[in-house]
């Protein structure tokens, strides 16, 4: 699996290709506005991966997520912190013997954000199919 992008990636417009055709039809505008309404915070691949993995687990350790996402310590902590700041995930730090252990779990707000994101994706697919 390729390593995921850095935290800078989320600054990139994620629907740039769509914007070039904005105004060509009403349907495209609708689709465009739907895309704009996307939660950019979890649209980024690594963050989407973290939220998806936590959605099906009670909690996951930092090293579980690192292995699962095939990413680096630095990259994972940057993206996890962004999700934590948005209160989409919660982090607990403890010690196992002398080893520090960081565990993450999805908050209700994070679960709702993932649900909304899934709704958006499904709406976009439906809009395209109906055309």
């Amino acid at each position: 699996m390729a390593k995921h992008g850095t935290a800078r990636d989320d600054r990139r417009p994620n629907v740039s290709n769509l914007r070039t055709v904005r105004g060509k039809s009403d349907e495209v505008s609708v689709a465009s506005s739907r895309a704009d309404a996307l939660d950019r915070l979890i649209h980024e691949r690594l963050r989407l991966g973290i939220v998806s993995a936590l959605a099906v687990n009670d909690s996951l350790s930092f090293s579980d997520l690192k292995k699962l996402m095939n990413t680096t310590d630095g990259n994972l902590s940057v993206h996890a912190r962004k999700l934590e700041e948005a209160e989409y995930i919660a982090c607990t730090k403890s010690f196992e013997g002398r080893m520090p252990k960081t565990r993450y779990r999805l908050t209700p707000a994070g679960r709702r954000a993932l649900e909304r994101y899934l709704d958006h994706m499904e709406a976009l697919i439906r809009a395209t199919r109906e055309r």
């Binding site: 495209v28 689709a31 649209h43 998806s52 099906v56 499904e122 697919i125 395209t128």
Partner: protein, 205 residues
Amino acid sequence: MASVTPLHRAPASEPPALHARAMDNLAFIRDTMEAAGSFTAVSGWAMVAVGIIATVAAMIASAQDSVLQSLYVWIAAAVLAPVVMLWGIVRKARRARMPLLSGPGRKFVLSFSPPILVGALLTIVLFRAGLVGAIPGMWLLLYGTAVVAGGAFSVKIVPVMGICFMLAGTLAVFTPSAWNDWIMAAAFGGLHIGFGIPIARRHGG
């Protein structure tokens, strides 16, 4: 060789990327959830319901006069329980937006089904041979085998439950058939409820 650029660029096509990206994102979410390995389509709450059905069946079966009559009660429960379980699995998968027959789901069905089908056939064989008392033990052994085999592609707690069923089956095979209803109650009732609650709490319902 240099690449050739057309003088007139093709008009920007419709937004195919949007549709494709949405599909790609959904596939990514599904793949991540599958790789995270903790999702199980097995519904914990449906297991609890099956456990309750089994407990009620055990109470009715133990009140019957003959082993054959109590076997009929268990067969009725064995028809009702998969319906409840299937309903729970479909509901859970829909809520999690996981396709039922995605990778792990398909593997689970393919591994779980053969021992269950063998169990159904052996029920007829043992019934015809007049070995009715051996049927509950065989059911528990083969149900346990099915759960262990299917659970190899699921969360760890599922195969552990299968092993417990196999142990209960072993006990049923080597003990007097008068104990069968109680062993069945403890296994199909107790184990389903006992494992169903943690599965429901830890693995999404």
